[in-house]
Subunit: 211 residues, 2 copies
């Protein structure tokens, strides 16, 4: 038996809260902030509107919570952004970069990431901190990661780069063009991620500039 006292705080049951969160995620991604009505969210979550307002004080709070979780989840899904990877030989660096690129492009070309980005960009004037978080999350994270890999490879004498920042921009930007200017407005489902071979060609081209 638990001796926990029933403190009357906002969350009564974590499961219910998750259920609302989940329904709201679907509706916000599909409709954006303005387009998502609280009635629709309640219905999608299988919950009465009343209950929704017990768990979340306002529609805006709910959305910030939903977007933040989504960003955090998308970020943590990327082992390649966290794990140690070998860069101690040119083939190793090449493999690492290709893996990183493929994995990230996979995520970023999914309908979920694109829809999320659309919502965040639209509302960034109103909720600027979410905008900043978004910019840091995948694209920014990848840039940091690539910069770090290149730096290590340079110290190991594998590559020659006098301007790590420029090199990083070149590679990450080159990869993301497949998604970002185009996919963001391609509304009909996810956009096609470039095939592995194409990614390899870009990485190889990039490596020609650094050796």
């Amino acid at each position: 038996m638990e001796a926990s006292k029933k403190t009357r705080e906002s969350p009564r049951s974590a499961a219910k809260r998750a259920q609302i969160h989940q329904g709201a995620t679907r509706v916000f991604l599909a409709e954006g902030f303005a387009g998502a009505t609280t009635d629709a969210i309640a219905k999608a979550a299988g919950v009465s509107k009343q209950t929704l307002y017990v768990y979340y004080r306002s529609k805006e709070r709910l959305m910030v919570d939903v977007l933040t979780s989504l960003l955090s989840r998308l970020n943590h899904d990327h082992a390649v952004l966290q794990d140690e990877r070998p860069v101690d030989s040119l083939p190793a660096l090449r493999t690492t970069l290709i893996e990183l690129a493929s994995e990230v492009l996979e995520t970023v070309s999914g309908g979920e990431y694109l829809a999320l980005s659309r919502v965040i960009i639209a509302d960034s004037p109103r909720v600027p901190e979410i905008g900043r978080l978004w910019a840091q999350t995948i694209t920014g994270g990848v840039r940091l990661r690539v910069a770090e890999l290149l730096e290590r490879a340079r110290e190991a004498g594998i590559v020659v780069v006098d301007d790590v920042e420029a090199a990083t921009r070149l590679l990450t930007g080159g990869l993301l063009t497949y998604i970002l200017p185009d996919g963001i407005v391609a509304v009909n489902g996810p956009v096609a991620a470039p095939e592995r071979e194409r990614v390899e060609r870009i990485v190889d081209l990039f490596l020609r500039a650094t050796t």
Copy 2:
């Protein structure tokens, strides 16, 4: 029915229409579609709401008109996208690419382009043709242009590129990272365009991969 009489067409005076158009542009860029009220637009244009609805049948029509004009204007401002440029020597190619990059980055980092992009991205689910137009307008246009320049340079034996598309993506993407993932959510005015020297470094790095 008599086809005689005077057909009451939408525009009565081109000047008034332009006046409304101009006011609406300001308000839409600042507030987005949802945030812009027709009252605010009428006020900004110095026109009564009544008159506004004489010239435009709905708020949506007005916005499509405004966005389309903006895109077209931004596009035609770029001489470097239209004019013939020399690529018959490596220094000439280099200069051409740097000029192209600088000019485009100048436009694209301006608050107007970023605000416009935000609005279009937000509403692309509702008005997909504007989204497509946007993707083709500057970023897409630059990509076509760079591809063409590289192709010509390759035929002239100036550079070695076995995959023009990959090379194009690498360069344009590398340049646009300065703006696109970051600037789009940086709401406080325009974002800093990279200085000339930085642009030169990216172009030089890119050229190392193609020679």
